[in-house]
Symmetry: C2
Subunit: 238 residues, 2 copies
């Protein structure tokens, strides 16, 4: 017997499948990474197979690239394109101004590059990701390995509580080794015990520290937001 | 017979040797990289050997580290320190507001990290580096390899004229392969045919492009500037 799908996954799947309906023939599509993006890519493959729609795509991770390729979606090298018609990606948190925290999966830089060259970034989330204030989810910040402990102490001097992300075993236990991004950098996860009160100011302060490559704050990038609910219905925030 | 030292090197040596006199017993010193920093490290080694001064240092490159180590200067791991007493480094250009362009040697990120944690950054230059307007020397910008062509095209959309730095042979001929920094990234060298009229604005625009790790603009970092002249005299700009 199949396991029943948990309510959270029903919500994610609803959002991902709704997003696939926004993809039209001839589009060049940016594929996000993560559990909600997985359902989007799943539905996109289905849509292309069952209709006359031909699209091509660029992926933010090896995992999403492999899923799309297995489903017959032609993939482009990111260096061969200058704009994308649409990018569909999840978010770890999004507030009422559509400011987001992303990068829980460690792909924040690639996700930001794709989002920033897309005519529209469609954000797909389950309702738990809608927040009144950003910062309950730790903010990922990508830093270069050189002087990384020093960079961490400078981050913490801003009043942040950062710690390096560590690698995990298959059984999800944490290893001593630091997690390394696709770009060969480390991730500092910043906790905000009271939430983050001024995301723009925090972002600027973080980016002014030499050694910080990128933050997980996404501003002015989200277009439509598709929110999935555990009963399978969705709501689109225009 | 020894080759006579070219006038430019006399100027560089004068500046480097003058900077060594600013180093006092017990100081933790940041060592820059490049031809002028070479003369500083040379004089610093001499000063430590001939007097009772004991110092320790952190280096911005393997080359400077090797030179210091060979001269008996104890080196610290950058991650074991939180501040430096002084950093002495060269510059490719410096204007009357002490804004600089650095990174001709490819070590801009490490140089900026050290400069930014130093109580004072002493800049040592030959007089040719003093400019009325920044931008005659190409501005180096460090970018991640992922989507690097796309990042270049976004840089050029700002009205900049960037091109990737390439590796060089021993005989200084350019190879087809891209130059790779100590951090595993590429360098875009940006030419400003008319000079750079608004360095701060250019810097902000560049840093807002995801994929740009750091620029070679150094603002609010230079302390005293020691200018060397071809006749061997120096001038200190306080």
């Amino acid at each position: 017997m199949n396991q029943p799908i948990p309510p959270k996954d029903i919500a994610k799947r609803a959002a991902g499948h709704a997003a696939a309906k926004l993809i039209h023939d001839g589009m060049l599509v940016g594929l996000g990474t993560g559990s909600t993006a997985f359902y989007f890519i799943e539905a996109l493959i289905e849509r292309c197979a069952s209709s006359n729609i031909k699209i091509s795509a660029v992926a933010t991770s090896e995992r999403s690239a492999a899923q799309a390729k297995a489903g017959g979606i032609p993939l482009y090298d990111i260096n061969k394109v200058t704009t994308l018609d649409i990018t569909v990606d999840g978010a770890d948190e999004i507030d009422h101004q559509k400011r987001m925290i992303k990068g829980g999966g460690g792909a924040l830089l690639r996700e930001k590059i794709l989002a920033s060259i897309s005519r529209e970034m469609v954000v797909i989330i389950d309702k738990e990701k809608l927040v009144d204030q950003l910062g309950i989810f730790p903010l990922p910040v990508e830093v270069v390995p050189f002087a990384h402990q020093l960079t961490l102490s400078r981050i913490n001097k801003l009043g942040c509580h950062g710690s390096f992300r560590r690698k995990k075993n298959g059984d999800n236990t944490t290893l001593n080794e630091l997690y390394v991004t696709d770009n060969g950098n480390y991730i500092v996860d910043i906790a905000f015990p009271q939430g983050c009160h001024s995301p723009e100011q925090t972002n600027n302060a973080l980016k002014s520290i030499p050694g910080v490559v990128e933050t997980g704050f996404f501003f002015h990038l989200a277009g439509r937001v598709i929110v999935g609910y555990p009963d399978g219905h969705i709501k689109i925030i225009p």
